[in-house]
Symmetry: C2
Subunit: 224 residues, 2 copies
Amino acid sequence: MTVLAAPCPQPYNGVNTYVMNGVEAAVSPLNDHQLEQIHEERKRQIKKAALKVFALHGIAGTKISSIAAAAGISQGLSYRYFSSKEELYTELVQDALDEAESAMGHIHELPGTPAEQIRAFTCLMLDPDNRLSFLLIRQVQISEEAPEAAKRLIEQHPPEKTIERLMPIFIKGQKEGEFYEGEPAQLLLCYFSVITGLMLQESPYVEDFWIRQADVLMRMIKKP
Amino acid sequence: MTVLAAPCPQPYNGVNTYVMNGVEAAVSPLNDHQLEQIHEERKRQIKKAALKVFALHGIAGTKISSIAAAAGISQGLSYRYFSSKEELYTELVQDALDEAESAMGHIHELPGTPAEQIRAFTCLMLDPDNRLSFLLIRQVQISEEAPEAAKRLIEQHPPEKTIERLMPIFIKGQKEGEFYEGEPAQLLLCYFSVITGLMLQESPYVEDFWIRQADVLMRMIKKP
DNA sequence: TTTCGATGAATGAACTGTTCATTCATTATT
DNA sequence: AATAATGAATGAACAGTTCATTCATCGAAA
């Protein structure tokens, strides 16, 4: 059995890897740029798979082996790119925040009525390209299980400001008679629960599926 | 060290638990009937707590210790009443199915327009007394983790028939011009995702909170 | 062109710490 | 005496991480 073994020849070290051989690093087989590009590409591949699994099952409900399976790689490989499950998760949260931020930044500048703005926002949330990111963020906000690092990221960023940004739009919509009356906070709460429910839904593959859903949703809010 | 001391002998429980002594009790310990009643009462107490935790976190995400904490009892006690976690879960699913069945049985007999029927159904799903049961059922339907026994229960019972029961109502509503047009299946799908989202929401304690939510929801479906 | 050696990406079995369902010796209650 | 209840202890399974090994690719030498 196994028990030992020994050599552990190369320690690891994040930065550089082997040097040995004489004349320091005289030879480099593939140019550094290409190498790095390949490296980044693989990272992206892993992240993409991980996002899908994490967003749907949470960090605790996700095993590395599932991610590996989803990414089509072996269990151990992700550790070459991410030093731990938590780091991977946290990095995904960071990306999601960036994406959400950039996606939401434009909502305000959009011209148009409040209804048009909310509709745009709705489409954004339901867009398959953003959906998982929003789910991940919401996950960190809602459940306990998220790593501390991820929670801190969310606190810093303007994440939950979402509500604060939307609220004025709702109020304006009501004032102008475009929206239904009622406590705006409650309308927003309902709207959000509903959006979350929809995001969890796996979509059948119809081109404009989400657009149509968004229109159905809007009927909750906007007078015809 | 710790924290607690004190055994917490009386588990509170809303209703009442023990009959504490009493003259006659001193003489004859407790007759069988009384004993059984106490036993059943405690079972109900455990089930109530377990339902809440299971419905929100799933069977895998729930530990016996959480249930115990929620029920205000010790870790080991539930094993006096249920032989395993799975058994407890499965029994809850059975109860939920019964409840759902009896609750839904009346939908059809309700007089009124399709909109009124759907509204009644919506209120049913959102009713705090039913909400958790419906969530539990949906959980078994959707995820893999449920025990085989529970899955079998669901297959036998008329569970997913929900959709089949609702569909005709939707179609009728559209035919009569009371509902919005569109693929009825899609409208239903949207409606269901949305309901699920709402059920997951913890309600602020306002008396008619869910009623109002139901009305907001109905706007998705029914023309004004 | 073929062969060789070097490099580091990739694998997956083994290791290990942790978690958690279940048990049980003990105590409290009637 | 008998039953209810406790909560610490157990142990098995689970899942994150490591690491010895294999594989694929490439530059250079023959």
